[in-house]
Amino acid sequence: MWEYPTWDVPRLGGGMAIGLIATIHVLVAHFSVGAGIILAVGETVARKKSDETILNFLRIFSKWLLLIGFVFGAVSGVAIWFSISLASTRATSMLIHTFVWFWAIEWVFFLVEIVSGYAYYASWGRISPRQHTALAWIYAVAAWMSLFIISGILSFMLSPGDWIQTRDVWDGFLNPTFLSTVALRTLSSLGIASLAAMAIVNLYPKFSREERTRVINFNATFLWPLVLMLPFAYWYFQGIPPFAKGLIQGGAAAMTLFFLFGIAASTLVGLYAYFGLIRRKRYINLETSLLLLSIAIIATVSMEFVREGVRKPYVIYNLLYSNGLTKEEVPRANNEGVLANAPWKRIGFDENTADPEALGEKMYEIQCSSCHVVNGFNDVVLLIDGWSDDLLWYNLERLHELKPFMPPLVGTDKERKALAAYLMELQRERYGNETKKEVALDGSHPQS
């Protein structure tokens, strides 16, 4: 069950470390995909109309794509692999063994994307316009196909569909939220890249105000599709598991708010692009374009947060809990014990002679540390602040019923009680004997 050692990230926790890296990468990757479409469509149109301003801008834009997408994006993509293998090892292994050929297919597109992207940037004015435009399209298609393949694997984690029963890789890839994920991510990519383009053109004084306005209005063409965020989000919503739906529909206030914010912000930006930038051909300066870009980034991050959040308590829905235990293994963990199935935690540790608190610490490391930390983000001590022994025990015993976004607490009676003892000790260490108003099982305050 817990056959791997644990990776300790003080203050932050492994889960949060993955989240941070993944979020940054998603933003850069979306920029790279959207930029490809802008370059391809932009060069095709600009060549047709002999629009030197747009061509000059695209040349500059391709340099930004290289510096952001190919340098940071390529390394941060690998960083996701590294971090998930450290903090969510079993899930990584399952995803790799299930989807290795889809990862390999994605790698082919990534290879073409990188080579064509470098070639595109390096060959301005060196190859024929037709060939250069063809390079832009090769890059755009390869980058988007990369997104297409990755979406199948990412959406699988929330909605594995029939794969749970059949274990057929196509059931997993073509899962209920696959296509809606592709659609949402394509919109997000266009939004981020076009807003970034508007900010970038404002950084170059060599463009006159009129030229900048033209470039901005041109890029707005890729922004208005954000108004489709609402129907696409609804489509996505229809495919997710019922419990996850419930979380968005008010089951978890944070999820509801972030989901609504993501849709509202995207739609408003899309409407502004259509009415302000396309129809009325407005100009926006650097500050405004950065503000709009920030809103789009926050909207994308919000949707990523919701995607990760509503998947709880699972990493792979209905199969693997976030703490590395599968659903099927719960009875065995209760019968045999947790420590018996976690060899790395038994190193130098004798369960028979150890204090309950020391055994509890092991339980915490195995079952809780993938999401919680002591002294830091999602601090476990803060979450039990003021609780009495009874209240804590009552909660731990019914953890997955009272907090259905958490995995069930497993282990022998001795192990679970040891975890309670450890958590109470942490509470005492933090607040001393004079804890805040202690809340007992019946809701009274024994110390008051």
């Binding site: 791997y4 340098v71 690998v78 590294f82 293998s85 450290l86 990188i114 064509s116 060959s123 090769i138």
Partner: protein, 374 residues
Amino acid sequence: MDLIPSPDSLGLPAPVWLLLLLHDVTQTIHFLFMNFVLGGSWFLLWLHFGRKVDWKEQLYQRCLSVLPVALSMAITFGIGPLLFVQVLYGQFFYTANIIMGHFWLGLLLILVIAFYLIYVLKAKSGSDDRFSSPILRLTLHLAIALSFTFIALLHTANAVLVLTPEIWEEAYTGSLWGTLLSRSEFLIPRYLHNVVGAIGIGGLWIVWIGNYRGSLNASDQARSGAVMSLVATFIQMILGFWYLAALPTDLVKSLMRFDSTLGWHFASSILVAMPFTVCLFALTVIPCHRLLRWITSGLGALLVFAMVVFSEKLREVLLENYFTLAEWKVDTQWGPILIFLGLFVFGLVVLAWIAWALWKGFGQPGDPSEEISS
């Protein structure tokens, strides 16, 4: 051994031989690019001191232009072996990653910083745009070269940890935060063998860059790469003996008797290394000879492939007491495999078209120093 996780119950989605083949091929290509990144970053440091000489300045600019592209390709081709090693040896690989967790993830932070430093150097390398402080320029060169050399150490440490489950417990309890590299006896010789070998192959890239269109003193440029390659190859041979001596005695005896598959792989590496060294020597004399360049480079690539296959077999032998690849349950996903292979071939065709278009395009008259940097 109690601490080795069991193989993933989902099994393998392809035959072992196919996964091994793809692992070895992508690893070889990754090494070929990485060798220029590592060797080239030290070579640039050396060239940096002689930039007042025209041909050295030209070679410096050209190497600096190729470096970020080679690094990007090294990263892209590194994804292949990263993927396939997880499939084949995930239970060993993941454990090694976690044991050196902070270093493992930190490796990428160093990589991205070094990547951007190359672009800073490139932006400041033009005649009008140089750094005013020579110390700053030198520091930048050193930072880049040391970063790649340190990254190589972390990769070697990881590979050695994969091979040595017997030291896992000590390593893990020695640093629960994952800040320990490896205490294996063959970490240092293997590391030095890899680094110096990389400089050897990296020198061949410089031979090609030195022979590029419009080179000033092409033979001087190309010879500097050939000499670097030859010297590194000789040192690497000595280090190779040290590496061998650090391996378990029974294994070394088996290698020397050539009575095992591993022994034959070892022999084939030596067989390729010998003509390669002879050709390298010839290249230091006639560095612009086109056919010789092709033969030497072909042998160099073959040597890297042979070493990759040897390392792979060595892993199999060192881990056979704990796990063999034959233990995997295989349930082949033929559909996705065929799609992958079809797309891979199609991708190669697209890449060939891009190469052709660029080759033709860059044949137009223009400033040679800008041809590959534009």
